[in-house]
Symmetry: C2
Subunit: 105 residues, 2 copies
DNA sequence: GACGTATTTGTACAAACATGCAAATATCTC
DNA sequence: GAGATATTTGCATGTTTGTACAAATACGTC
């Protein structure tokens, strides 16, 4: 079993749940990082559930956490996650691998 | 609950399982569509399991099926899936929505 | 029609998962 | 220190999911 592929599957699985995806979208649309209470207002779920979802997202590197007093401030790991999704999109679309494209005529 | 968001979550969940993702990769790398038996050789799973995974992928529009005698020929829905992944990547990265970009200076 | 191959479906099962509630922990304010 | 707020953790629970095996179905070949 390829660990790299497993990691990608884990990333996709983390994004592939409605409430977690909603949290990600919520973080998309705010310029400033948000705490968990703010993020769980959007979902109808309990705070403990939001906490667990955020833990999952953090474990997959989707969000970054910063302690600030009694709050945890979450921010999206925009560049890295977008990059991984685009890499998959490129592979699926059948684009050539990124190994010195355009050289050696 | 937003149906569009749910559909995207379902797509990501379908891709977010190791054996299913392996099938997708396998279809990536062959030019010609493949039947289910060929695809399940890569995973260590039973043929019935591959059948169910392919059904899941087909339901999400990830693969297309064509009956050919007693075989089912599967092919990747490359453009559409790549497009949906890139749309998500764009949203996550915070790029502006695709509504007449570049007009009206 | 008999047989072989490809695929699906029924059944069972263990593991993972999403969830809510209550309790615990951490930290701020007074 | 008491009380309030933010978050995590323990526990219970119902659901989903990935899997294997056997049986059923579909179809080509002889």
């Amino acid at each position: 079993m390829l660990p790299e592929r497993q990691q990608l599957a884990d990333l996709l699985k983390a994004l592939g749940e409605y409430n977690r995806l909603s949290i990600v979208y919520e973080l998309c649309h705010c310029d400033e990082p948000q705490n968990a209470m703010c993020l769980c207002e959007n979902c109808t779920v309990d705070a403990s559930v939001a906490s667990r979802h955020l833990k999952t997202l953090a474990q997959e590197g989707i969000v970054e956490v910063e302690k600030k007093g009694r709050e945890r401030i979450y921010s999206l790991n925009r560049v890295e996650i977008a990059r991984r999704l685009r890499t998959l999109a490129d592979q699926i679309e059948g684009l050539p691998e990124q190994t010195s494209v355009g050289s050696s005529s």
